[in-house]
């Protein structure tokens, strides 16, 4: 087994689980579902990016953010702005008093495109922005707080407030952001109609592949020294600091990385669902994202993705039948997860007999092996 695979999967069970997941989402779902349902799964999976970020940030590093919707929104709005501009060409908007700008701007008496919309006419810029904007925002916020050793509940409350500020800010500036209705009526990406069935299939597979790559990246991080440092920061912050690590920069970096993942998720959401609005990024959705992660298992990358699928599926299925009871059911699920199985579904799965480890020799054997080899070598050199 090559070394990098060992870094990705610690046990055979993990590798099998990952392959099983790929088979499920790449083969079984597309074959078994009509495109409408598959598109819903794609929407659920776009929250999977956020959940993976929360596994690293909350599960591993112990930093609970109740504002991941902010970054989901930043990525999503970047994507939506590009698509909206493309949908607002002068011909299709010719009935507006100012043709060529998005319809909601026209309704709000704007007569020119605001400066910060200009660069979103370019797809390369938009893609770059989907990564860079959440990263920079998270880095500034994280650095400001973690350097002052703000953490725990205070951090959670502040991020919660950010989610509120963001959704209110968008809501209150309808001319620039589309307001409460959000940015709607998105049609094409470089002339390719994203509303057709073919496009929905393509976007679904794009989302799944990106999510799988993200999951691998997260698993890789977890199994390197950085992954161990994250857990150490969670459990023994002072010891890590007095082992010469800059705890603030470790936390800030994870926060920024989780933000980037959320941004990618937001962009994939917009592509598949076709709109973006403040109701998807405010306080409630931000908390829901934490619940997905908790139910699936906040320590486990695959668990968190499964959590997204199950909870969202439940939400759709259940709220179609009993719209009023859904919130209670979700709240109840969250409380029982926290009380009875804090490591979620993945934690339950791990209670089954340990599946054989991919790393055969213990460190003791390896380290002593090295030492013996060296002694023999010195001896033979001496002769």
């Amino acid at each position: 087994m090559p070394l990098f695979l060992k870094t990705l999967f610690k046990t055979r069970g993990e590798a099998i689980g990952f392959i099983a997941f790929l088979v499920l989402v790449l083969v079984i779902f597309p074959l078994a579902m009509p495109v409408f349902r598959l598109n819903l799964v794609g929407k659920y999976l776009s929250f999977g990016f956020v959940a993976i970020g929360l596994v690293l940030l909350w599960g591993r590093c112990g930093v609970l953010s109740l504002g991941q919707g902010v970054f989901f929104g930043l990525g999503g709005y970047c994507m939506a702005m590009f698509l909206k501009l493309e949908a607002s060409d002068p011909e299709s908007t010719s009935i507006q008093s100012t043709p060529g700008i998005p319809d909601f701007m026209d309704w709000n008496q704007l007569t020119a495109l605001p400066w910060f919309w200009e660069p979103f006419k370019s797809l390369p810029f938009t893609i770059l922005a989907i990564f860079v904007v959440p990263a920079v925002v998270a880095f500034i916020i994280g650095w400001a707080m973690f350097r002052r050793k703000v953490g725990g509940v205070y951090f959670a409350i502040i991020t919660q407030a950010l989610a509120l500020i963001m959704s209110l800010g968008i809501d209150g500036n309808q001319g620039y952001t589309g307001g409460r209705n959000g940015i709607t009526d998105l049609r094409t990406l470089l002339g390719w109609d994203i509303r057709t069935e073919d496009a929905q299939y393509t976007l679904y597979f794009l989302c799944v592949v990106l999510l799988a790559l993200t999951a691998l990246a997260a698993k890789y991080i977890i199994n390197t020294r950085l992954g161990r440092v994250l857990v150490a920061v969670r459990d023994q912050e002072d010891r890590v600091r007095f082992s010469g690590y800059d705890v603030a920069i470790v936390r800030t970096s994870v926060f920024a990385f989780a933000a980037v993942l959320s941004g990618i998720g937001g962009a994939m959401f917009v592509l598949q669902v076709g709109f973006m609005s403040p109701s998807i990024i405010g306080i409630v959705p931000s908390i829901e994202m934490v619940i997905f992660t908790a139910v699936g298992g906040r320590l486990s990358v695959m668990g968190a993705i499964i959590g997204c699928l199950i909870v969202n599926w439940g939400k759709t299925a259940f709220s179609e039948a009993y719209p009023d009871a859904w919130l209670y059911l979700m709240g109840g699920t969250f409380i029982s997860v926290v009380m009875f199985f804090p490591n979620g579904i993945a934690g339950l799965a791990e209670k089954f007999p340990r599946i054989r480890s991919l790393i055969p020799a213990s460190v003791t054997e390896r380290i002593k092996g090295m030492a013996t080899k060296k002694t023999t070598k010195t001896v033979s050199d001496g002769q």
């Binding site: 390197t224 950085l226 459990d235 023994q236 010891r239 010469g244 705890v247 030492a371």
Partner: protein, 248 residues
């Protein structure tokens, strides 16, 4: 008497006040290379606070902390560690869920940045260093053991080992033998004598028997100030010390 340029650490007129209460006040302390210097004093004398001030955990309000010609006041904790000052806490603070080996490995000074961590590999040098430190602290037979199941004494040694991984020039130990059995105490004393061969060690301790065993010099603190300093012999005959501390 040591001339000042020989001292590895010089603390002068150090003071800190918390809401007007002076926990440490006009504290002077000089640490020679390769010595074990023990700080004793009654509860609340400010011993632990002194360690906190040196390692940057608490910011001093006055005074100087000079380490090998560099001023430590105002530096961030991790930078002070990287300069060569190691700090052990009173309660064993180790990573309980990781193995003994992983505890040591995580304390290896290479790759302490975010990207350094990502690229960190278990090279031969890393393995050798972990093994040799594990031998020093007597834990080379339990490298694969989860640190949480070690005995109290072993945990304390592991934390000392984690400091040694960083090759510090000064090690500060806060009550290293509290809660240890007699046998473990003897072993810890040997360990401290051993590691002070090529570095200085500052120890805070209550157990006078133990202090006698390890100390090259003793500093006695009372109400945030130094009231006596010298060999154990000299200090224990100092009337001021007898009055505030040993006489009790």
């Amino acid at each position: 008497m040591d001339s000042s340029d020989q001292n590895i650490l010089e603390v002068e007129d150090l003071g800190v006040s918390f809401d007007g209460f002076k926990a440490v006040d006009g504290f002077n302390f000089y640490l020679a290379p390769n010595t074990v210097q023990v700080i004793i004093g009654p509860n609340g004398a400010g011993k632990t606070t002194v360690l906190d001030l040196i390692c940057g955990k608490t910011a001093a309000t006055e005074g100087k902390i000079n380490f090998q010609g560099k001023e430590l006041r105002g530096e961030r904790e991790y930078r002070i560690v990287r300069m060569g000052i190691g700090r052990k806490f009173q309660n064993p603070s180790i990573y309980e869920n990781l193995t003994v080996f992983e505890n040591l490995e995580l304390s290896h000074p290479r790759g302490r940045g975010v990207f350094g961590c990502l690229l960190f590999r278990r090279t031969e040098e890393v393995m050798d260093r972990c093994l040799s430190v594990a031998k020093t602290i007597g834990l080379d037979e339990c490298l694969d053991q989860e640190a949480g199941i070690l005995s109290h004494g072993q945990k304390q040694w592991l934390e000392i080992g984690m400091l040694l991984m960083q090759r510090p020039k000064v090690i500060m130990l806060d009550e290293p033998v509290a809660g240890m059995s007699v046998k473990e105490r003897t072993k810890t004393a040997e360990l401290i004598r051993e590691i002070s061969k090529d570095r200085s060690v500052i120890v805070i301790e209550h157990d006078m028997e133990f202090v006698r065993e390890i100390a090259d010099r003793v500093t006695v603190m009372h109400m945030g100030q130094v009231i006596s300093e010298g060999s154990m012999e000299r200090v224990s005959n100092d009337p001021k010390v007898i009055e505030v501390y040993i006489g009790h």
